[in-house]
Amino acid sequence: MNARYLPYLLILPVTLFLCLFFLYPFILVAQQAFSVDGGWSLKNFEDVIGYWKFPISFQNTMLLAAAVVPVQLALALLMATMVNRMKKGRDLILYVWTIPLGISDLAAGIIWLAIFEQSGFLNSMMQAVGAIDRPTNFLSYQNPGIVFLAIALAEIWRATAIMLVILVAGIGLIPKEYYEAAEVFGASPWKRFTRVTLPLLRPSLQTALVLRVILAFEIFAVVAALGGTLFPVLMGETYAYQFDLLNNGAAAAMALIILAISIAFTLIIMRALRVPKGATI
C-alpha cells in the first residue's frame, strides 16, 4: 500500500459519512431556500427579511450575544486562571463548575423560570424580606429588561463552562517558565495576564469564542422557556416558519441566514485573534 494515499484512505469513511448526512441535507436545505414553486428565486429571503419580526429577532439575537459572550469570556478566563493556580481540589471544582454543561438548554430555561416566575424563588424571597408586598410577574411584557436579564443570566449560567473547559486546557499548556521570566523582568500579575497568558492563549480563545458565538446565534430553548413570544430570536422564528406556518422554504432561508452570520463572525474572530506570521504558539 502506497503510504502517500493511506491517510486519505483512512479518512474516507468519515468523509463519506459527512457527505451523506451533512453535505447532502445541507444542499437540500439550500435548494429549498432558493426555490419557489420549483423555480430558482430569492423570494424566500425577501419574505423572511421583509417580515416585521425579522429586524427585532435579529436585533434581539445580536444584543443577547453581545451581552452574554463577553461576560462569559471574562468569567471563563477568571475561572480558568483560578483553577490553574489550584493545587488541591482542582478536579472537584472543575466538575462542579461544569455541571450546567450536562443540563439541556430547555431544562436550564425551566430551572431559571422556576426562579423568576410569579410563584418562583425570587418572588418568595423578596416577599420574605419585605421588598415587595405581593408576587409580581417579572417575566411579562411590562418588564422587557427583566426578561432580557433572565435570559442572559440563564445563558451565562448554562454555557460558560464550555468556554471554561477549553480555556483551562489551553492555560495548562503554557509553560510555567514564561510566567517566571515575566515576573523576573518586572511584569505585575495583571501584565503577566495580558502580556503572557492572553497572547499565548490565542488558539484556545479562538476555539472557545467561535464555538460560543455560534451557539449564541442558535439560542432557542432558553428563550422559549423564559421569554416565550415576548422576546423573538432568529432561531425561534425559524422554528415558527417550519412548524407553525409550515413554510419549509422560509425556514430554510432563515437557517441559511443564521449560517451566514455564524460564518461571518467565525472569520472575524479568527482574524482578530490570529497569531502573527512566524510566531509559534
Partner: protein, 346 residues
C-alpha cells in the same frame, strides 16, 4: 556595588529539606558558579536569590540591602532560564526589550539598549524574527541579551548552556564569560558540568545534598578538595582513594608503601589524582585492567589492593592489560581525608 550575601538560608518543601543553612558571600563583579549533581539544590538556591522561591529561613542581601522580602523586579537582578523562556509570541526585539517595556522606558531608550545588547550577543540580524524561527543557540543568545538589556547588578543563570550541543556549548562558554566580564555584573551561574564550572568561574561553590561543601577558586577546589565528596566529584576521572594506616611520626602505610602524611595518629584515607603519578621503580603496585589510549594521554584503570585505581600516563608508554605497574605518587599532590568526618586533614 553588588555584593551578594546569603545568610543561614534553609529551604524545606514539606518534609523534604532541600537546602541546609547556606552561608555564602559573593564579591562585587565576581563570577560564582554553583556546581553539583542534579537535585542537590542549586536551582532552589538560585530561585531564592531571584525571588521565585521563598526561603524557609535565612536572609539574602544584595548591595548591602536585605532583599529577600522584595519581589523579583525590585532586587536588581536579571535571569537566564534553562529552557530560555523566550516568549514565542514576541519578536526577538520585543523579547530583549520586555523588561525595559515593563519599566516603561521611553521608546528610543528601549531601542538603544536592545540594539546594543543584540550587538553584544551577535543577534542584531534577528531582531524581527520570532522565537520559533531561531535555533537553540540563537534562542540562548536572546535569553542572555534580554538579561543584559536590564543592566542588572546581578545576573542569575540556571544551566543556560545545558540544552546546547557540545560544540556550541564550548563556544558559548567563552563568549558568555567575555560578555559578562565586560558588563561589570555579579554573576551566579548554576551548572552540573564541572568543565563549564572550572573554565568559567572566578570561584566555585560545590553543592552536595543541599549544602555548600566548598567555595573556592577552581584550582583550589581541584587541588585541595575540602571534603572527600569534592575529591570524588571534581576531575574526570576523579581522585583515587586508598586506606592508610598510621605508623606514628606522621608516617602512613598505604598498599604496602610508606608515605609521609599529617601528624594525626589514626587511620586516614590517602587520595591522589590520576595524573599526579609516574611510572617508577618504587611506588604502589597496580595491575592494569583496562587501557584506554586517549591520544593526549593514556588512561589506565588498575587495581591496587583490590580497589579501583586510575592513572593518567604519558601516551608514549606501552601498557597492556594484565601488566603490573609501579606507580609513584608525587608527594606534594597527596591529600588525606578523615574517614569519619570526610573532611580533609592537613
Amino acid at each position: 556595588m553588588a555584593v551578594i550575601e546569603i545568610k543561614n538560608v534553609a529551604k524545606r518543601f514539606g518534609e523534604y529539606q532541600a537546602l541546609h543553612d547556606i552561608n555564602l558571600t559573593i564579591a562585587d563583579q565576581e563570577f560564582m558558579v554553583l556546581l553539583g549533581a542534579s537535585g542537590c539544590g542549586k536551582s532552589t538556591l538560585l530561585r531564592i536569590i531571584a525571588g521565585l522561591e521563598t526561603a524557609t529561613e535565612g536572609e539574602v542581601w544584595i548591595g548591602g540591602k536585605r532583599i529577600d522580602h522584595l519581589p523579583p523586579k525590585d532586587r536588581g537582578i536579571a535571569m537566564v532560564f534553562q529552557n530560555y523562556a523566550v516568549f514565542p509570541h514576541l519578536t526577538v526585539f520585543e523579547n530583549i526589550g520586555f523588561g525595559l517595556r515593563m519599566q516603561k522606558l521611553p521608546n528610543d531608550e528601549v531601542t538603544r539598549r536592545v540594539e546594543r545588547t543584540a550587538g553584544l550577543m551577535h543577534i542584531d540580524q534577528l531582531l524581527k524574527r520570532y522565537s520559533g524561527e531561531l535555533s537553540g543557540g540563537q534562542r540562548q543568545r536572546v535569553a542572555v541579551a534580554r538579561a543584559l538589556a536590564m543592566e542588572p547588578d546581578v545576573i542569575l543563570m540556571d544551566e543556560p548552556l545545558s540544552n546546547l550541543d557540545a560544540l556550541l556549548r564550548m563556544e558559548m562558554r567563552a563568549e558568555l564569560k567575555g560578555v559578562l566580564a565586560e558588563s561589570n555584573t555579579t554573576a551566579i551561574y548554576v551548572t552540573h558540568d564541572q568543565v563549564e564550572a572550572m573554565s568559567m568561574a572566578d570561584r566555585i561553590s560545590v553543592m552536595h545534598e543541599g549544602r555548600i561543601v566548598q567555595a573556592a577558586s577552581p584550582i583550589d577546589v581541584y587541588r585541595d578538595p575540602a571534603e572527600r565528596f569534592v575529591a570524588g566529584f571534581i576531575g574526570n576521572p576523579p581522585m583515587n582513594f586508598l586506606d592508610a594506616t598510621p605508623q606514628g611520626a606522621g608516617q602512613f602505610l598505604v598498599a604496602g608503601q610508606s608515605f609521609a602524611g599529617p601528624s594525626a595518629n589514626k587511620p586516614l584515607e590517602f587520595a591522589i589524582r590520576p595524573e599526579d603519578m609516574t611510572l617508577s621503580e618504587t611506588g604502589l603496585t597496580a595491575t592494569a585492567k583496562v587501557v584506554e589510549p586517549l591520544g593526549a594521554h593514556l588512561l589506565v584503570t588498575c587495581e591496587v589492593e583490590g580497589k579501583l585505581f586510575r592513572a593518567v600516563l604519558d601516551s608514549d608508554l606501552r601498557v597492556s592489560m594484565g601488566d603490573t605497574l609501579t606507580l609513584a605518587p608525587m608527594q606534594d599532590r597527596i591529600r588525606w581525608f578523615d574517614p569519619d568526618t570526610q573532611i580533609a586533614v592537613k
